[in-house]
């Protein structure tokens, strides 16, 4: 999804300036996009089915609500994406410059729309709205727009998409850095770095505020147990500290080896340094997330990496502005080596969201322990889990291999010689 946006940017520049360099750049990234999309499609399909296969009780109860967003994803986003993807990947000659731009744009719109419907589904599970309870414990939808415009969904979407954009930016910038550091394709290298760094810096900052901040405030208001667990706050207190480091010791209800910023958590959650923040001791233990340590670390990994991303991108943007980025080899190395980190940060973020919601499947309405398929025994579940793990491992290796190959092959060669391409007196 992040790369989709960047490709639209590249094609827009190409259309505006008429410079074929950007069209070639877009074509290069389209190849990688195609590989990502194929794997995305085949691994995404199991998700739609798994609500029914493994979470039948949940589906029976909540299907009338979340089935709507999932079905809309299929009917509106998937048809749009899949139709125009073929045209985008293989129809450039047929469509012409403007037509092909539209194909790229519609694929981008389709994928971002898809993101919204899925996030709206999770958001409803985190913060159910627009429903009533029916006669047989089923949950009935009472407000379509309430479901779609759930406040939780809007901020979660912003946060999720910015995470996707950062991933795309880091990958593009890293490939750019790689091309410069390995002394090949310096012209493309600079373009990829510029776009990756400029968009990435903006995305990294917005990720912290307002999107990350607002998510944090919503968790404080609607999921206070989650906040306490993820921050490692065992004791309710005024002027609660923010834990930077420390290992949660759940048995002893404390953080081992803590490194904290005093009063910071109170400020972040309630905008007052002395505000009262509820700790885990304020809630009965059966309401606590059941994997507090993992939740705590997922959250801290996500925030730690997010902070690093701001540092890397903003510093790179600064160096770019001073026209020093392309010669700052140390910075290019940092960017290049950071490429796995956004993937880890995104995963850590989703772990935080899902582990944080525990023990609830639908917050306040249905516990996870009550939502599984009653007839599917553990043997079957293990069999299929192992099957998927095996298949997905193969797909991951395949993906790495194919994407690396495309990066190795590189974009189409430029028309003019490299030395002239790097001449600062020639317009870039």
């Amino acid at each position: 999804m992040g790369l989709g946006l960047l490709i639209v940017i590249l094609k827009s520049i190409a259309l505006r300036t008429g410079d074929e360099h950007f069209s070639r750049a877009a074509r290069f990234w389209a190849k990688i996009f195609g590989i990502n999309f194929a794997i995305g499609v085949v691994t995404g399909i199991p998700m739609e089915f798994q609500f029914g296969t493994n979470w039948a009780e949940f589906s029976k109860a909540a299907g009338g609500v979340i089935g709507q967003t999932l079905a809309m994803e299929g009917v509106f986003s998937f048809f749009l994406e899949s139709t125009f993807l073929g045209l985008f990947l293989y129809g450039e000659k047929k469509l012409g410059r403007v037509g092909h731009w539209w194909a790229a744009f519609l694929v981008f719109v389709g994928s971002w729309l898809s993101g919204y419907f899925i996030v709206a589904t999770d958001a409803w599970m985190q913060h159910p709205v627009g429903y009533q309870l029916g006669a047989h414990h089923e949950i009935e939808l009472t407000s379509f727009w309430g479901l779609l415009l759930n406040k939780w969904a809007l901020w979660q979407y912003a946060h999720t998409m910015l995470g996707a954009v950062q991933t795309g930016c880091f990958v593009m910038a890293a490939v750019g850095a790689f091309y410069i550091l390995s002394h090949r394709d310096p012209f493309y290298g600079r373009t990829f770095l510029k776009i990756g760094v400029l968009v990435g810096a903006l995305a990294a900052l917005l990720q912290l505020s307002p999107s990350g901040d607002m998510q944090g405030k919503m968790i404080t208001q609607y999921q206070p147990t989650t906040l306490a667990a993820m921050e490692g706050l065992f004791e309710s207190q005024d002027g609660a500290p923010l834990a930077i480091l420390g290992q949660p010791n759940v048995a002893k209800r404390t953080l081992d080896n803590p490194l904290v910023v005093p009063n910071m958590l109170s400020f972040l959650t309630y905008k007052k340094w002395t505000a009262h923040v509820q700790g885990l001791n304020d809630f009965p233990e059966d309401q606590w997330p059941d994997k507090i340590e993992l939740l705590y670390f997922s959250y801290h990994v996500m925030v730690g990496l997010g902070t690093m991303f701001i540092a890397i991108m903003v510093l790179s943007a600064f160096l770019l502005w001073r026209k020093k980025l392309f010669e700052a080899r140390w910075m290019l190395w940092v960017i290049m080596l950071s490429v796995p980190l956004p993937y880890i940060a995104n995963t850590a973020g989703w772990l935080t969201a899902e582990l944080g919601r525990q023990p609830w499947l639908i917050y306040g309405l249905m516990r996870t322990a009550h939502g599984f398929s009653p007839r599917v025994n553990a043997g079957n579940a293990w069999f299929t889990l192992i099957g998927f793990m095996g298949l997905y491992t193969v797909l991951a290796i395949l993906w790495l291999f194919l994407v690396y190959r495309e990066i190795e092959i590189g974009p189409e060669p430029e028309a003019r010689p490299a030395a002239e391409a790097l001449d600062p007196s020639v317009a870039a």
Binding site: E48, F51, E57, G86
Partner: protein, 335 residues
Amino acid sequence: MVALYVLLDGFDLGAGAVHFLVARTEEERRQVIASIGPVWDGNEVWLLAAGGTLYFAFPALYASSFSGFYLPLMMVLWLLILRGTSIEFRNHIKSPIWIPFWDFFFSISSLLLAIFFGAALANVVRGVPLDQSGYFFEPLWTNFRLGDQIGILDWYTILVGVQALLVLMMHGSLWLQWKTNGALNQRAARLAGWCWWGVLVLTALVTAITFSIQPQASLNFKTWPLGYILPVIAIAGLAGVQIELRRKNERDAFLSSCAYLLGMLTSVVFGVYPMVLPARNPIYSLTVHNAKAGDYGLKVGLAWWLIGMALAAFYFTHVYRSFAGKVSVDSTSHG
């Protein structure tokens, strides 16, 4: 939606199932892939859109059937993964190892999917061991003997699975005949002709058996004789395939095959109505009435669904028009 899925993705699966039979050279194999390359993903979306619609409109049915058919559904998912990646990655590396590897998985996964989908339909028609909880869990197989020991794979479902395979092989071959030329076109036409005879025999056999094991079917057709128009469409379609094949009207042969599929699938739905998932013990059957979601959700869903279908119709016409005509394999194609 399911009917459209079968019509559309059916020819992709069929093309895959006949891949090695009709395409002998690398060039021809590229043509097969190129004929479905730009459309297979969109076609598959009908399955996902249908699944999602099932979810919000009949959540109890979705939950019950998906968890009851757990193992075969997972296998279908794995096969869909294999099929999709084969088509998309096949042409990435021009190597005598890479290409035949993916061709093999493309073909075998398409073939198995056709059989599984047929078996799935047979299970729905025959009925499953639902109980008062509204759930069931059917064993993957029991003993394949005639009798009461049913399984997801038993003599009846495999028979229908084979029928489905032959039908989709015919359907896919007719698509390939329409979209290609030369030796490939001729082999596809001949294969479609041979499959036709199998389809004829199995349709007669399976229909007879089905009426005897699912009493609702006879009841419905007797109560509403207007329903007979549906199997008539199927028969007309099947006849049309043979007629148009002989006349070498490639487009009409394919469309006749579509009519056959449409007629058959709608007949099935008509035959089990009002049940959506018959139970072996009829009082536990899931019906249109006891499995549906609340009225507000259904109303609102219908509204956006109609808009969505209109948009989808527009996209599909656009894409099929863009890629109309015979495939030519060059550097810019999906090949």
